[in-house]
């Protein structure tokens, strides 16, 4: 792989390792920066007002002290995000915005507002939990309207339809570029590793999108011209809850057997960008609502009224068809109930498709050698290793 896009990937990696430094550099250029934890926050409205939305990620350092703020049976992702607030790592943010998410992340947000000094610079947008009804769509548009009014008061200038349309186009462009980046992994010998794509995707969630788009375009052009690597190994796909611990993906691609991480269906990867907001629509908030309803649903908001079906399973089966994994890795946050109830329904599907799987239980700190053993055992099953 030529030095060109290695350098770009390195830039993305640097941003994932120093998100604060990057965000402060944006503020240095006079930009306002707003943090969000749940991806149902419509970033286009913030971006349209000139505010740069950045995702609040966890740091994977043990934080028992958050047990006196958040009950211990909440997921480690909510504890870690709360801990970042309590440790004042994100004090520089001008604003945090949250949409009514699963109750664990709602509590992480509450800790920031009650105990981490974000009382005056925070906004909670009520958002539906059952998305696939006509009333839900109307409720969403009303909620977006309330957020828009708040932001207009916050930046003391109105947000025109053109502002939002421009933001929609920039964000759709990022989504298309990220999709093309992930499409490389469909090849038998992709020119880029799954870990690198995951790193770029994670960085994209904390970056100013126009700058991110330029880097993505340059990277993709470089990769187009790049011949694939030599023989590719076992193709592994990850599906499950938010994973912003790149060590897990690093481990998946550095086992004792050659493996390729070819897809990650998670809210810190595919679920973040695998959709588009319809462009050039008269009602911009209506368009954002339509885009949001078309997303891969988060397990906490995935019930199809009538059948009670989990719509996310349709997407998972489509990704399996397109990316052709040899094995699937189910990741779930310890104590996450919605995810545990989804995994219950994914396993029979994988068994019927004849695709071996294993479960990794994520926590603040992850037992790397145990995970390594589980993953290598999965690969040994796929490669039919026997004495």
């Amino acid at each position: 792989m030529n030095k060109g896009h290695n350098a770009i990937i390195e830039q993305f990696r640097h941003i994932t390792e120093n998100p604060h430094e990057y965000a402060k550099s944006l503020q240095g250029k006079g930009r306002l920066v707003a943090g969000y934890m749940c991806t149902h926050v419509p970033e286009e409205i913030l971006y349209g007002a000139g505010i740069i939305p950045v995702r609040i990620l966890s740091a994977h350092v043990s934080q028992a002290m958050t047990r006196s703020y958040i009950h211990e049976t909440y997921c480690s992702y909510s504890h870690d995000c709360a801990y970042q607030g309590l440790q004042n790592h994100y004090d520089y943010l001008d604003l945090i915005v949250h949409s009514s998410s699963c109750i664990h992340m709602a509590e992480a947000y509450n800790v920031w507002v009650r105990f981490a000094g974000f009382q005056q610079k925070s906004f909670l947008m009520t958002f539906p939990h059952v998305l696939y009804t006509k009333p839900a769509r109307g409720f969403m548009v009303e909620s977006y309207g309330e957020l828009k009014q708040f932001i207009e008061k916050f930046v003391k200038k109105s947000i025109s339809d053109d502002d939002i349309e421009r933001a929609i186009k920039v964000y759709n462009h990022t989504r298309r570029l990220l999709k093309r980046l992930w499409e490389f992994l469909r090849r038998d010998n992709p020119p880029i590793t799954g870990l690198e794509v995951a790193t770029v995707t994670l960085a994209a969630q904390v970056m100013e999108k126009q700058e991110c788009n330029q880097m993505l375009e340059e990277l993709i052009q470089g990769l187009e011209a790049e011949p694939g690597k030599e023989s590719s190994g076992v193709r592994l796909m990850v599906t499950g809850s938010s994973v912003d611990d790149l060590r897990v993906f690093d481990l998946i691609e550095h086992l004792n057997y050659s493996t390729n991480l070819i897809f990650i269906e998670s809210c810190t990867a595919a679920r973040y960008f695998w959709y588009e907001v319809p462009e050039d629509r008269p009602d911009k908030l209506e368009a954002i609502a339509e885009g949001s309803i078309g997303r891969i649903p988060c397990p906490a908001k995935d019930t199809v009224p009538g059948t009670g079906e989990k719509k996310r399973l349709r997407f998972i089966q489509q990704f399996i068809q397109d990316f052709k994994p040899d094995g699937v890795i189910l990741v779930y946050q310890r104590f996450c109930s919605p995810q545990a109830m989804d995994i219950l329904a994914v396993k029979p599907i994988l068994n019927m498709l004849g695709i071996p799987w294993t479960e990794l239980e994520l926590d603040t700190t992850v037992p790397i050698t145990q995970f390594g053993t589980q993953l290598e055992a999965l690969v040994e099953i796929i490669k039919r290793v026997e004495p």
Partner: protein
């Protein structure tokens, strides 16, 4: 469990064509098995302090005071959680594959489900009649350390860990302890002192609770007969009794000459034997693929 090693004096290693070994560097204990032309020659069981150190002491204990040296071993496969810390291993295979291979080698082709209750983890492995693993389920974090905490519990009741299994069999009437995790069971067991529950009943209750938790994992993974149990905890009669009665399935009888804790190490030795023979006949292409040493992921 106390450390032990044994050697089959009848066999003379100098006459053997193929000398292979398997080292199972487990969390709580490290085991080694040496085969001469496929026949068990020597084995050892030592406590693990750190995997690197204990793997070496395990193989040395197996070599014992014979003139056989580490360098005479043609092929050595390491397995277990600490397998990447065994520098003298030619290759590593996970304890899932080794457990299945070892179990089928000992109990024969009818085995379909292998329950491996080690010191730190508890795994259910499904396999084919040829000893190839087809699926597995690892314990969740709340069921970790059942083996280790059995030893802690033995210390609390001031008895040997090899003793409490038999004591547990003496009573089948006892109040129920929480079977969600070893810490809950231990803390509730301590509180039974308040209501003067006799120690034998507390020990039986603790064994029932741990057996119940393991049975939930086995039920969750699905149990297809024939069913065998390997790993250190298989030597605890209390756990075995309650596990079989809760699952309402009896396991194949344990083989007297094989300590269940050594089966995974035996599996590793069988893999070493097969790989060495294939390497000789050079027909095996996957070879170079598995030679890649493990790389240590980023800093923490």
């Amino acid at each position: 469990m106390s450390e032990h090693a044994s050697i089959d004096e009848q066999l003379d290693w100098t006459k053997a064509k193929v000398i292979v070994a398997g080292v199972d560097s487990g969390a709580v204990s490290s085991k080694a098995v040496i085969l001469l032309d496929g026949k068990p020659y020597a084995s050892s069981y030592v406590r693990t302090r750190t995997p690197k150190e204990s793997a070496l002491s395990a193989i040395n204990a197996a070599l014992g005071n014979t003139s056989l040296k580490l360098e005479n071993i043609h092929y050595l496969v390491a397995t277990g959680r600490g397998r990447t810390q065994v520098p003298f291993a030619h290759e590593t295979i996970t304890e899932i594959a080794c457990g299945a291979a070892g179990a089928v080698h000992i109990w024969g082709p009818s085995v379909r489900t292998v329950l491996d209750i080690g010191g730190e983890s508890c795994k259910v492995i499904h396999c084919t009649e040829k000893g190839r693993a087809t699926s597995f389920l690892w314990n969740d974090k709340c069921a970790a350390g059942i083996g280790r905490y059995m030893e802690t519990f033995a210390d609390l009741v001031q008895k040997e860990v090899t003793e409490i299994g038999n004591i547990a069999l003496q009573s089948d009437q006892f109040p129920k302890l929480s079977d969600f995790c070893a810490v809950y069971a231990q803390s509730e067991a301590l509180d039974f002192i308040r209501s003067k529950v006799p120690v034998e009943q507390i020990i039986a209750a603790y064994h029932y609770a741990m057996a119940k938790r393991i049975s939930i994992l086995v039920g969750r993974a699905g149990l297809k007969e024939d069913f065998v149990i390997i790993g250190g905890l298989a030597k605890n009669p209390g756990i075995m009794h309650w596990l079989e009665s809760i699952l309402n399935v009896s396991r194949l009888a344990p083989q007297p000459e094989w300590d269940p804790a050594l089966i995974t190490a035996l599996g590793a030795a069988l893999f070493a034997d097969a790989f060495y023979k294939r390497k000789q006949s050079d027909t095996y292409h996957v070879q170079e693929d598995q030679q890649k040493r493990i790389h240590h992921p980023g800093s923490y």
